[in-house]
Amino acid sequence: MILTNIESVPGMKITGHYGMVSGSTVRAKNFVKDFGAGLKNMVGGELKSYTELLEDSRKEAIDRMKLQAEKVGANAIINVRFATSAITSGAAEVYAYGTAVKVQPIEG
C-alpha cells in the first residue's frame, strides 16, 4: 500500500478511483500515566507518554484506513490528511482520510 498526501503517486499513473476511505481511533492512557503526565504538566516540557499515545493513535488510524482500502481493491491511497480533536483530557482522537486508488508504474 502506497500512501501519499499529494494528488498523485509520482512515477506511477492512476488507473482507477475507489472513493474516499477513512480510519479513526480514540485512545486513552491509563490513570498511572495520566498522573505522571499531570505532574510533568506542572513543570513543563514534553509529555512522552502522550506523545506515544499520539503515535499509536496515528498508526492505528492509518492501519484502519489501509484495511478499508484493501477491501475495495485499491493499492494506494492519495491525498491523505489528518484531523485531530481532544475528546476529554488524556484522550485524543486521530482521524485519517484519503482517496483509494489503483496505480501502476509508468513504463519507459
Binding site: P10, G44, G45, E46, L54, V80, F82, A86
Partner: protein
C-alpha cells in the same frame, strides 16, 4: 500559608519551565542546522517531475508538549490586559518545530519532502475548566520522495 505554597510552586515551575524550554530550543536549532540541506516544501500537491523516482513514502512526526504552571499563571494576567502572549507563542512554536523535525528525521534518506502539513490540537482545554495548563499536540506529515540516481 497558601500564598507561600503558590509562590513556591511559581518559583519552582518558572525555573524548571525556563530551563527545559531553553534546552529544547537549543536542541531544535542544532537539529535544524543538521537538516538544513534537506528541503521541505509545503507545495507539490500536483507534483510533476521528469526525474526517475525510486521511492515514495508518507512520513509523519508527532509530539505533545505541555506548558507549565508559571506560564499559565502569568498568561492569566496577559489575557486580562490583552497583547502578545509570548509564553504561549514559544510553546506552540516548540511543538510545531519539534513535530516537523521528527518527520524530517524519519525521512533522512529522501531527497525532498513535498506538501508538508501541520496539524495541532490542544489536549487539555475544557470549556468548563479553563484554568487547565495547556498541552499542545502537533502532527506534521508529508510525502518523502527519493529520486533514482
Amino acid at each position: 500559608m497558601d500564598l507561600l505554597i503558590i509562590l513556591l510552586t511559581l518559583g519552582l515551575t518558572f525555573t524548571t519551565g525556563s530551563i527545559l524550554e531553553k534546552n529544547h530550543f537549543k536542541k531544535i536549532r542544532e537539529r535544524e542546522i543538521a537538516l538544513v540541506k534537506k528541503p521541505v516544501v509545503s507545495f507539490g500537491k500536483k507534483l510533476t517531475t521528469n526525474k526517475k523516482i525510486k521511492k515514495v513514502e508518507f512520513v509523519t512526526g508527532e509530539v505533545v508538549i505541555s506548558g507549565d504552571y508559571f506560564k499559565n499563571f502569568v498568561s492569566a494576567f496577559r489575557n486580562f490586559f490583552g497583547g502578545r502572549m509570548i509564553s504561549f507563542e514559544s510553546l506552540m512554536d516548540r511543538a510545531r518545530r519539534e513535530a516537523m523535525l521528527r518527520m524530517r528525521e524519519k525521512a533522512k534518506n529522501a531527497d525532498i519532502i513535498v506538501n508538508a502539513r501541520l496539524e495541532s490540537t490542544m489536549l487539555n482545554t475544557y470549556k468548563e475548566a479553563n484554568n487547565q495548563i495547556p498541552q499542545v499536540a502537533a502532527i506534521a506529515y508529508g510525502t518523502a520522495i527519493t529520486y533514482e540516481r
